[in-house]
Symmetry: C2
Subunit: 407 residues, 2 copies
């Protein structure tokens, strides 16, 4: 139904982007400052961290969207410094928007801002001030990769995804970029995510679709159980595809929502697979649950278990840890009906039926778990609801990366 295309945040018509190194990161090879903008004004929806400690950029972005009534033109973003827990944080975030706006001929409130990196270090504004002209001048319709690279921190790969689809006879595009590798246990959205579309969708319907989809994608992702202070997901529609604007829950809305699910679930998997130190992508699929919330709670509980994550790193079919994590999930169902399999490209390993273990070959288990993508297939056998959650294994490198992140 959806054709996968290139272009990330520039896949949709009328979006330009750029990225460069401004000196926040002493490694001159690493981009640390990014920018993208739409040729015309965008309807804009957002979801943000629920952490009480909110990065100053989160506060400023929300304020700007309140002032404009959900309209925006551009987003400026940086890595290396989260601009969080600083007394002058909001002032600096506002300055970032103003600097970009002046260069682009926009009102500062039409610019949104996002930062990621170390918490609690004063944000130096000079590097941004001295590079914003170059940044704006270099905006291009194929600059998406530069922006995607600029927001990476401990990420080892850039994350972009885009699809093409039809609405109302018009070709539309929806694409985005994301960053995040550690401090990932989103409660609204994960770290930094930007999704653009040229499909015309009202701000209200954009927000509705985003809130529904975030619940079953980003919010079902956990790398380490730590909900970041700077989580932010911005979805912008500039309407340049020329379709009739979606402003009700009609057939076009359902198509748009499916496109959004496709992009967001693929980016969620990219984030999980690139979790700090990860060698394996883990997916917990919970089916035949009594209701959606139960399915989500159980899937997230399994995917978050450090013991299971270590076992998967060791390629050890220690399914008792899956049952343990299902058992402490805060939901109601009959544990004695639960079936569990481990599934990979190399086969299906049946390990548990009706809450009790069944015999399996350790040799075959090793083979199935040797894959770098493992599905933990949980059937509650208590209803019709289903959900997935994504995470990764827990490895020596996670400890190494986080034992000395600031240096």
């Amino acid at each position: 139904m959806f054709k996968v295309i290139d272009g990330g945040v520039c896949a949709a018509k009328g979006f330009k982007a750029n990225g460069l190194n401004c000196g926040l990161n002493p490694n001159k090879e690493k981009y640390d400052l990014g920018l993208y903008m739409s040729d015309v004004v965008c309807n804009t929806a957002g979801v943000y961290t629920l952490n009480k400690v909110k990065g100053a950029p989160v506060t400023v972005t929300k304020n700007h969207l309140n002032i404009t009534g959900g309209k925006s033109r551009a987003v400026i973003m940086n890595s290396k410094n989260a601009n969080t827990c600083n007394a002058d944080g909001e002032e600096k975030a506002e300055m970032m928007c103003k600097l970009a706006a002046d260069e682009l001929g926009l009102d500062a409130n039409e610019v949104l801002v996002a930062s990621t990196g170390v918490i609690g270090q004063i944000m130096p504004i000079e590097p941004i001030e001295s590079h914003v002209k170059e940044l704006a001048a270099g905006l291009s319709y194929d600059g998406n990769e530069k922006a995607a690279v600029a927001i990476m921190t401990t990420d080892t790969v850039k994350k972009e995804y885009a699809v093409e689809f039809e609405l109302d006879g018009k070709v539309c595009r929806l694409g985005g970029m994301a960053k995040g590798s550690g401090m990932i246990h989103p409660n609204m959205a994960t770290t930094l995510n930007f999704i653009t579309t040229d499909a015309a969708v009202s701000t209200q319907m954009l927000q509705k679709a985003l809130s529904e989809i975030v619940k079953v994608t980003y919010n079902c992702l956990s790398v380490d159980g730590d909900t970041s202070t700077n989580d932010m997901l911005i979805l912008q529609s500039n309407g340049l595809a020329g379709n009739e604007e979606i402003n009700a829950e009609n057939d076009d809305y359902e198509i748009f929502k499916k496109a959004l699910y496709t992009v967001m679930s693929e980016m969620t998997k990219m984030l999980a697979k690139d979790g700090e130190g990860a060698t394996k992508l883990l997916e917990c699929s919970v089916t035949s649950a009594p209701d959606l919330d139960t399915a989500i709670i159980v899937a997230k509980s399994v995917i978050r278990s450090p013991l299971l994550k270590c076992a998967m790193f060791g390629e050890d079919a220690n399914w008792g840890r899956v049952l343990c994590a299902i058992g402490y999930a805060e939901a109601e169902f009959d544990i004695n009906k639960v079936d569990v399999d481990f599934v990979s490209e190399y086969g299906v390993l049946e390990v548990c039926r009706n809450g009790a273990g069944i015999e399996f070959s350790e040799e075959y288990a090793k083979k199935v778990l040797a894959s770098d993508e493992i599905i933990i297939d949980v059937r509650l056998n208590s209803g019709d609801a289903a959900a997935k959650a994504w995470g990764c294994d827990l490895t020596y490198d996670y400890v190494k990366i986080n034992g000395d992140y600031r240096s």
Copy 2:
């Protein structure tokens, strides 16, 4: 007020214990089967895992105490096999009680049972059957260490603690043993804990004291966020100290509760310090909280953060991770009033005032964090309540131990 004494589970008058290797563990040097009993019947209180998956021994122990109305004489316990998620689990757990009871001349319902080890492997009864005679014959008033060693799994040290105090002019003793190193995030109690006293206390008041103290000790402990299926804490009083039985919330009850807090908080710290792979004991002390529940929730949120645990392993004063974990704790308070210090025997490092960072010397920070016991001192400045939580750092060895636990 309380004199620390030796003796663990045998510190109280009239308790004998023993331990040996019966062959569950192929390493003949490692004890895997333990037993202790009181010369006379005990009032008994217990707290158990809230995991939906409950080890068969948990179910059988609860049943026995229901049948006897909270009376017991002996406890049999093993390591290496958790006897959980097995179709014949309860049958095997009952057999263990019966085997011990026959040897000791007791009713099977007067014997409690506890198991720890791998989940989902059939419990072999033959090794126990063939060694229970030797186990019972070897019971002695100074056999506490043997029993404490028999319940160890990945623990690197045995955990015992005991105190002496006076009630009603009579000298009383309260002591216990515990095991636990991984799958530690107790929700009622952690893995296996046995506490005995010769102070006379009614079953009802025993249970009341235990439930109050477990909330602020074991339930504030987290090694990895995984709530075990076999958590069990048994508190037995045989009354041999000769004091007047405590059966109301009088002054003696308060003294007894303080003794219980002393033993349980010290054992909690032992468990945290010996967390799988741990090099440091972490204590999060939350003060000036609006209420006790808020203090507990915030302290547990900080102590559970994998990112903070890694930073402490790396001796990196990355206090932004403390603020992040305080921020995502599910409680209500003003984040802008929060102060944070890192405290150790080497000094006090002030890192955050009113929710914002303050400058500190990295050299001094390294010195403070070089200790193997770190206190994260959090002041909410929003009330009078206080609580502590305990945990440990997250290290390469945690991953190593859990990447291949079953082999």
